[in-house]
Every structure is written in structure tokens, then in C-alpha cells.
Subunit: 167 residues, 2 copies
DNA sequence: GTAAACATGTAACAGGTTACATGATTGT
DNA sequence: ACAATCATGTAACCTGTTACATGTTTAC
């Protein structure tokens, strides 16, 4: 249940509403984990029902601010340490590349060009840590950004190499 | 519907049964796309119902050999060329790394050690192309293997670097 | 006043996982 | 005879997507 753990993780930093959390998925976690609006709101209700989080404030327009509970923090720590992560392989880009021999060389080359373009565009500006963000000594957020930079570069180089291999 | 397209792709190479296809997901596509037994068999029925594939032979133990139809090949080509692939971000490894500040430094270091170990283990032997495999000029299969090698190396280097950043 | 942003909720459907269920064939 | 492998099918459940539905507040 990674989506729920992602929510617990985000709330471990500070309390937030569903709306806030949704924005965090599109910014901080944009290259890490995806979630839809529908998913976030229903997960918050579930997490609230099981006591992992609680409503700590209500604001205008029905806004509900949630905070992590002690149980929620325990669960988050458990998830982070309990088992080794496994790489869930479902790579759309590679899947297509795998079957490129059913199209002609020009179309295959065009495909790798698309991958290169995607890699060049996809590079987001590293966000400055916000003022109210308390700097923790080992900066795991920037380690994730660094992974992203390396992945993007790797993918671009690979697609360039692959493009030249055709014919 | 990438799962169904993966099946069309595999069948474009040669006819196969559900059982055969399942093994291909665990070998050729092990680092590309994951599928369960349950999924494969029901997808084959759907694809057969919509005329993308057809039963070309029946063997012992109820074995059914499926082959791609002309419509199926058209659909496969369509999928490969129609739209740019988008990177679907759901990276379990990164998600955990992102929240490592809720555990202590030793546990965080252990996490990166796990990632390194996983990367070292995960490296599968590149399979020799089988005898009856007709060599196509640009070898897209080996391009996918190359991507994998680069990804594994990148991830190992990143985890090593990240581990040293702690404290 | 009105558009943009804020803010939530739910229903229908598609895709994926786990577990159960069954049986035939091959090799030793 | 027995185990391993071959071979398929289905039901319950969980996760994720798309679309609909509603209303408030802020800024211009």
C-alpha cells in the first residue's frame, strides 16, 4: 500500500489537507510517485478510520487539515525498515522498445528521438527547500533529485546510442 | 492497456500458449513488464474475443496455441507508433528514500545497502538468442538488455554515493 | 461580476493480486 | 507410485483512472 505510506510520509513533515497533499504529489513527488485526486481523498478517509492520521483543524470551504498520529508514525517507520524494497517492473518505454522490430527503421528511430525529447523536457528545476523547511542533516530529498538527474541522463544517453544502432 | 500489447508483441515473434507466454514474462520481459498467471489467461480470452489473436492448435492438457491475427498486428503497430510513451512514475525505492529522515541514520544506511545488494543480485545473465530466433538487423532485445545494465549500474552507484552522504 | 483557485466527495470502470480449484503428462 | 512440470480457469479483493458533481473564497 505505497500510496497510503506516501501520505503518511508527507504528513510526517507537517500537517496538510487533501488539497495540499495533492499538490505535493505533483511537485515534490512528481518523479517518485503518482496519485490522483480521487485516490488521495479516499485514502485520507481510510487512514483516518484506522487511526493513522487525524483531523487537527477545519478551515473554509470544508478544508480539513490532517496530522500524523503516533500509530501512523509507527506504521511509517515499520514500512521503511521492515522489508527490502522490490523493484516493480512495468516500464512502458522499454516494453515498446522491445517490440520495435514490427515497425520500420524510420519509425523505430523516431521512437528513440521521442525518448530523447522526453528526457530533455522532463528535467525539472530542482526546487529550493522552502524557508519553513527545517534542514535535516542527511538531505534525502536531494538524494532523490540526484537519482532523477542520473536516470534522465542515463535514459537520454541510452536512447541516443540506441538510435545510432539502427541500420 | 500495455499488458495486452505485451502479449501481442510476444505473439508477433511466434505462436505460443498462455503457459509459454507466462514463462516469457519471467524471462525475456523480467526487467520490462510484469504479469500474473491470472492476468495472462484472461487477457488471452479477451484478445481472442476481439479478434486480435486466434487459436491455431490445441495440444495435450488443454493446451491452446495462440497466434497473432492481421488485426492484432495492425493494433500492435498502432500502439508502437501512435503516441509518445509517457513515463509512469511509481518508484517504490525512491519513495522510501524520500522519507528516510523518520528513521535513524543506521537504518537509513542499511536501506541503501539493501538497494546496492538488490542491484548486484538483480543482474541477470544476458540470454543467448535462441537458435530458432531469426536475427533481425537492429537488435532491439539487446538494446533493452543494455538499458537494464545501465540502470542497474546507475542505481548501484547512486546508492553507494547516497550511503556515504549520511552523517 | 466573474474567473481562477480552493476544496471535497462519489460512482463506474479498468487493471492487477492472491488464492482456490482442477486435472493431465512426463520422467524416475 | 510419486513428484515435478505442464496447463488452464475463476472468484474475491484491492488499487488506480476517469468522470461527474458540488460549492466557496479570493483577486481583479
Amino acid at each position: 500500500m505505497s500510496l497510503e505510506h506516501a501520505l503518511l510520509g508527507l504528513l510526517s513533515e507537517r500537517p496538510a489537507s487533501g488539497y495540499d497533499l495533492l499538490k505535493l504529489f505533483d511537485t515534490s513527488l512528481a518523479n517518485v510517485w503518482h496519485a490522483t485526486q480521487s485516490q488521495v481523498y479516499s485514502a485520507l478517509i481510510r487512514l483516518s478510520d484506522t487511526g493513522m492520521i487525524e483531523i487537527v483543524a477545519e478551515g473554509p470551504r470544508g478544508r480539513k487539515t490532517y496530522a500524523l498520529t503516533a500509530d501512523g508514525l509507527t506504521e511509517l517507520r515499520q514500512w521503511l525498515t521492515a522489508s527490502s524494497p522490490r523493484d516493480e517492473v512495468r516500464n512502458n518505454i522499454l516494453l515498446r522498445a522491445f517490440f520495435l522490430d514490427v515497425v520500420d527503421s524510420d519509425q523505430a528511430r523516431a521512437y528513440f528521438a521521442d525518448v530523447i525529447q522526453m528526457s530533455n523536457e522532463g528535467q525539472r528545476e530542482p526546487e529550493e527547500p522552502s524557508e519553513d523547511y527545517e534542514e535535516v542533516c542527511p538531505d534525502y530529498r536531494s538524494m532523490v533529485l540526484e537519482y532523477d538527474r542520473r536516470l534522465t541522463a542515463m535514459r537520454r544517453d541510452w536512447a541516443e546510442w540506441a538510435g545510432t544502432q539502427i541500420k
